[in-house]
Amino acid sequence: MATLTALINGRLLDPNTSESNILNIVLNEDGVIVGLGYVPEEDGDTIRVVDLKGHTIVPNVMDAHVHLREPGNEGIETMASASYAALTSGITLLVATPDTHPPVDTPEMVLFIHTRRKQTAHVPIYTMGMVTKGGCGQPLAEMALMAQEGAIGFTDGPSLHDTGMMRLALEYCPDRPMVITPYDPWLGGDGVIAEGALATKMGLRGIPQEAESIRVSRDIALVARFGGQAHFFPITTRDSVALIREAKAKGIPVTCGTAPHYLCFQDRDIEGYHCQLKVTPPLRKADDTQALIEGIEDGTIDVIASDHQPNTVDQKRTDFTSASPGISGIETLIPATLHALRPRIPMHRIMACLSSKPLRLFGLKKPGVSVGARPSLSVFDLTKTVTIQANTFHSMDRSSPFDGLTLTGKAILTMIDGQIKWTDSSLPLSD
């Protein structure tokens, strides 16, 4: 029986620096790192050696925005299925939105999520709570009690439409991020695609990009005057990036994130009524994609998360207007992000948006790779090309706009709290 595990010849990527050194990590049977660098010469029976062959180790890779569907819609996705999708994609932590049925708007529901996650999930799942009861816009939900039970942030999805309530919510909730999808439903109307010539051509109702940026602007003003931490997710337009860049320069405590599909696709890809690309907010223009990449490059954009919104086959197998928005995104988060950003943005900066920055945002303290720690980490083969096959997804939603695309970068090992929980078939484990 092996009592020690040694991950040898891994290249540790530190999200804070551009350095990455080949190193060996030795863990005891409790998953605690007992040595770095030196591999003790033990009898082969007592040490399990995993040769990482120079592949890249990243600690605490997370998906900071997933819609889980459990409780309430277990026929679409469960904590078990989504977390297994994460595990096999090199994602060691999920942040769940509270828009379940019933919604997570009480401390009891937070407790339920954490209990259920311990029973069924393959990676840790943290949940956000609702800002208002049932996400209905008022009154405020018991955010402080939910925080005591472990809610790490709050969101109603879209920003509160009532500006007065939004002010109260931001004032009341000072020490947890409020995650805001900036959207003005009156300006957006019943649009399903970005407003412009393409919407006109396809006979689909358009959503002007100002439906997003007007709310970004409003909520920045509220935070500047009344406090609170606003985290805008996802942002999709050039104007939003510019507004947040300016706010950050003034020292206003706002952050933001985006999702890989806004980096990889534009509205023109919808031509032919491709329901897989129906998302809210809608896909924008090439210029907006460019602005998002610039925002990631200069640090305006802090987080990249999948905005995983699984659907059933039938919810997508219909006409564009009737189709449900959202994509099954957990399993493409890493390769799609890498595809969009490499080589323009250095790897450690990309990975920071997927690990250290969202960790900090949500105030999560997770150990890195150091002696005495029980690390959660993933190993990626950054040169391996993979053709995305949605029908092999572990998520229950086995569909994707990336289906059939060839992307580069694949997880080959996932360790949770010091234990190897999953390895790719290309990495045989000697025991």
Binding site: L198, T200, K201, M202, G203, G272, Y273, D314, D319
Partner: protein, 312 residues
Amino acid sequence: MTTGLLGLSELPLSTIRTLLDSAKQMKAHATAHSTPLTLKGRTILTLFFEPSTRTRVSFETAIKRLGGSTVGMAMESSSTKKGETLFDTIKNLEAMGFDGVVVRHRHAGVPHFLQSHLSFPVINAGDGLNEHPSQGLLDCFTLEEHLGSLEGKTILLLGDIMHSRVARSNLWALKKLGARIIVSGPPTLIPPGLSEWGIMIAPRLDDVLPLVDAVNVLRVQYERQEHGYFPSVREYRALFGLTEKRCQRLPSHCCILHPGPINRGIELDSVVADGPHSVILDQVTNGVAIRMAMMDYLINQGGAHGDTNGPD
């Protein structure tokens, strides 16, 4: 793969030309009661998820004149009301073995969705705001009857362009046929992007009336007023109604089209609708000829469906 007729934006000019020429023959055959029964033994499904009178009757007449038969589904009373998905509805209907389906739906792209799952041709009879290709073709046919070649002719589309599938099908076909297109209507009802296709926007109707060879007047829909696109029917008529007085500014050869049904006294004065410029009833006659041409082309020439459903 089977291709139906989903829209004029994707239809090549050569096919548009073929259909317009064929419609001319169909019209002559119909007048002479000598229509060849090219759809004999064929059964076409008409699937109208939205109410329609003239388009449906026009398609059914066209199919029957060619010797085909039609089966109509009143979708208000169908199983979609019982929660059946559009996908299941269409797969069930496919299993019954039709030779084509004429579909109207309030959502853009429904014909495209159906076509991607069906082995027989889908004919779009109006999908949301997107297209109404048979109307676009019959408008072009009627215009050519009165104006000759449309190359260089100036056609005005008047009214609610934003919510009009008739306007869109007209735009794509007229552009391919070489016409100059002007649109005019309340600014709230002019969709974005038109200038990208070289379409001129005329905010003041009176300025452009003397320049046009034809006006296609679109129907005013009252619910647009409720949603705030314009303040009142009275104000709409004052600015964009084709009144008797405004008509005096039109060149004498100019023809006036309307897809119907007309709101008399609002977008079009009765005197104008019944006056010498009006070709509105020609449109209705030509609608049958165009739909005969479309059905004949799709089922006998364009459609890939085999001859498995009985003798011709």
